[in-house]
């Protein structure tokens, strides 16, 4: 990789962080187009996609979106693999079915996720932060777990920036093990939150929260007032197994919290930015329940699956993301998640199932299930 390319990438990263901090004069559109041109120059696959679309990269809408499947089939990166500092992997049933998002720097990822996470999840300067996931080992391969670790480091003064397990903390922030959720650990974290008069921020996947509720067997587990439970995942492959509004209600009852304190997060391995519901009390992000609001550096458009053009407002379409955080991978990504624009954000409506098999052929998703 040429030094000039690295320099250009570094400059774009700096510009994106400045944009996120509100310290840039460059507009979203200008920055997105600069990143798209940088990627077209340095990634052959994207160049081919641009050529196929006949795009001259003159406006954000003309940036061809890279299908998220591409991350499973090939490397989506400007830089060579020797420069990777992390490789986030998508969930999948086998190594072959997993997508990889390789980053050569986590600075921008951390800055963006911390900035918007604070807006959506923090009502005070600091919180007691715990995650319902096993303690990660380096290198972290899940972007979600990476983000959780960043939140623990940034939002919880009990943990230093370098060592989230250090200091004289009386509790462990990683609360999921072989036996399931660590209820005793959660109790200790609650006590600590009460003692220090900080809210508790519980970070989790929806599935892990289901497991926690099962372990509680209907018993209430009151969290300190103004605590927030962030949950993510569910509306994708396992949507049939998980009713998110039901889960939210059960969590609110069980934790004795206002339902608005149960905040949904939407993120995906292929993106460096996340969306949140803006329902919690005292936080600066505001929005109705069920609406996931993007940060200013992420634009989501619902597009029709056939022509990839924006659908009428209020109509369901595939989610097309333009994420300024994806400086070194794919600035525009199209997923199979169905969304509808509403109130400055999007509603998640499940996953485009793919064509229903008309003969005895297999739907593509079914073919992959159980592979490996």
């Amino acid at each position: 990789m040429k030094a000039a390319t690295l320099e250009e990438s570094d400059a774009l990263h700096r510009e994106v962080r400045a944009f996120a901090a509100g310290e840039s004069r460059v507009t979203f559109d200008e920055l997105a187009l600069r990143i798209a041109r940088f990627q077209a120059e340095n990634i052959a696959g994207f160049r081919q996609l641009v050529a196929r679309f006949g795009s001259r990269l003159e406006c954000v809408e003309s940036i061809p979106a890279v299908p998220s499947d591409a991350f499973k089939l090939t490397r989506v990166a400007v830089h060579p693999s020797e420069l990777d500092v992390v490789r986030f992997r998508t969930s999948g049933t086998s190594a072959e079915a997993q997508g990889v998002h390789a980053l050569r720097s986590t600075l921008t990822y951390s800055a963006l996720s911390e900035r918007f996470g604070r807006k959506a999840l923090m009502s005070k300067d600091s919180a007691v932060v715990v995650a319902l996931t096993p303690k990660p080992s380096d290198p972290v391969e899940s972007s979600l777990v990476f983000m959780m670790r960043e939140f623990i480091r940034s939002f919880d003064p009990d943990f230093t920036l370098d060592e989230p397990e250090s200091k004289e903390s009386s509790f462990e922030p990683w609360l999921f093990g072989r036996e399931g959720a660590d209820l005793a650990g959660l109790k200790r974290a609650c006590s600590h939150a009460k003692e220090t008069q900080r809210p508790l921020l519980l970070l989790s996947t929806s599935l892990a929260l289901c497991q926690l509720l099962e372990q509680l067997e209907g018993e209430h587990f009151a969290l300190p007032a103004s605590s927030i439970v962030m949950h993510t995942g569910g509306p994708k492959r396992r949507s049939g197994e998980l009713d998110l509004s039901d889960l939210r209600g059960r969590l609110a009852r069980s934790f004795e919290l206002d339902p608005g304190q149960i905040v949904g997060e939407y993120g995906m391995t292929e993106l460096c930015s996340q969306l949140y519901e803006g329902t919690a009390r005292g936080v600066s992000l505001k929005g109705p329940s069920g609406v996931f609001i993007p940060p200013p550096w992420l634009r989501v458009t619902a597009v029709d699956p056939l022509h990839l053009r924006p659908v009428e407002p209020g109509t369901m379409g595939l989610a097309r993301f333009v994420d300024l955080g994806n400086v070194d991978s794919a600035v525009a990504v199209i997923t199979q998640d169905l969304v509808r624009a509403r109130d400055g954000g999007i509603e998640l409506l499940g996953r485009q199932p793919g064509a229903v098999a008309r003969g005895c052929s297999l739907a593509i998703e079914a073919l992959l299930e159980g592979a490996g």
């Binding site: 196929r52 793919g354 008309r358 297999l362 073919l367 592979a371």
Partner: protein, 347 residues
């Protein structure tokens, strides 16, 4: 009637259906245009290649030997590829004198025509009531099969056949230009038949060989798909199927190289991942790999058939890795011998 006579009677009725100018032949073709999503030429291609109307005596004997016998057999048909009902009925008739069939509401055409062609050979009923001692043949989606099996009374033998997919594996090292062309021709025929909606249709194509050999093969596939496309226009694709093709095309444009053909898509990549399989509608993703057996073995649970070209050594590795998969020549994937169920995964 003996099993042989029952199967032969069914084949005779199928022969009449295949006859373009017979009254039943004309009638079913008109209906199939509405139910199959195939073009008229696509229907003829499927009838010519995939409706078994002249099996050998040995195949019929093998077919009879492959099925369990019972006094009564019940058959639950699905909207399979449109010729599928023929083999399904033959299997039931091979094992039982008394066969009761529930046809698919979506595509009842062939079963009804065969019923008309050989009155009394089997019954059609909208309600199957299985009882101890019956053999129950069921075709359909995995969920349907599970539900049917769960609801069966004790003493009923259940034989379920769910959806599946085919793959192609070609070892191109040292292949001549003629071999490349004939293999491409075979692969394209297997692909175009039923527009890849069949459980034997190739959805994965793995090739080994040098870059030049693979590129040359891809060019042959493009030429053959274009040529056959002119003679056999693609049928109608649903909006979802079209959307899958768009996504496939964009993904493969990023990952490898896409050649547009009229109609259809051929893509060439170096990816060994089977996580973005070709959708239906004449999409061929040629994946240039070093080691083809392991990726195929990983999806072995859904594979019904592998169209193969290559050395005996590789064939033997393939059959060891996939013992329940039919390994056939390319161009024959959609016409397996009439020797039992097409799908051997239940064996």
């Amino acid at each position: 009637m003996t099993p042989q006579e029952r199967v032969r009677a069914l084949i005779a009725a199928a022969r009449e259906v295949a006859e373009k100018d017979s009254s039943v032949g004309k009638r079913v073709r008109a209906r199939w245009l509405q139910t199959t999503g195939l073009s008229p030429e696509g229907i003829e291609l499927a009838l010519d290649n995939s409706l078994e109307i002249s099996p050998s005596e040995a195949e019929i004997e093998q077919l009879i030997a492959s099925v369990p016998t019972s006094k009564r057999a019940l058959v639950l048909l699905s909207a399979n590829v449109f010729v599928g009902a023929h083999r399904a009925l033959a299997l039931a008739l091979a094992g039982s004198e008394h066969v009761v069939v529930r046809v698919s509401r979506r595509d009842p055409v062939l079963a009804a025509a065969l019923f008309e062609g050989c009155p009394g050979l089997f019954e059609i009923d909208s309600d199957l009531t299985p009882a101890r001692g019956d053999v129950f043949w069921a075709y359909g989606r995995k969920e349907t099969l599970r539900a049917v099996q769960t609801g069966l009374p004790g003493g009923v033998q259940f034989l379920g056949h769910g959806p599946g997919a085919g793959a192609a594996l070609l070892e191109l090292t040292g292949a001549s230009a003629e071999e490349m062309q004939s293999q491409a021709q075979g692969l394209v025929l297997d692909t175009v038949l039923f527009e890849q909606r069949g459980c034997l249709s190739p959805r994965v194509v793995l090739v080994t060989g040098s870059t030049e050999e693979v590129t040359c093969f891809a060019a042959c596939v493009v030429a053959e798909l274009t040529s056959l496309g002119k003679r056999v226009p693609r049928g109608e694709l649903s909006p979802d199927e079209q959307a899958d093709l768009v996504r496939f095309c964009d993904t493969l444009t990023y990952v490898g190289k896409v050649f547009d053909t009229e109609p259809g898509i051929v893509a060439l990549s170096e990816s060994a991942s089977l996580s973005a399989l070709a959708p239906v509608g004449r999409a061929i993703h040629i994946q240039h790999v070093e080691e083809p057996i392991l990726p195929l073995a990983r999806i072995g649970h859904v594979l019904t058939s592998v169209g193969f070209f290559g050395s005996e050594t590789l064939r033997s590795q393939l059959s060891s890795a996939l013992p329940k998969v039919r390994i056939t020549a390319l161009g024959k994937m959609q016409r397996p011998p009439f020797d039992g169920p097409v799908d051997l995964r239940q064996r």
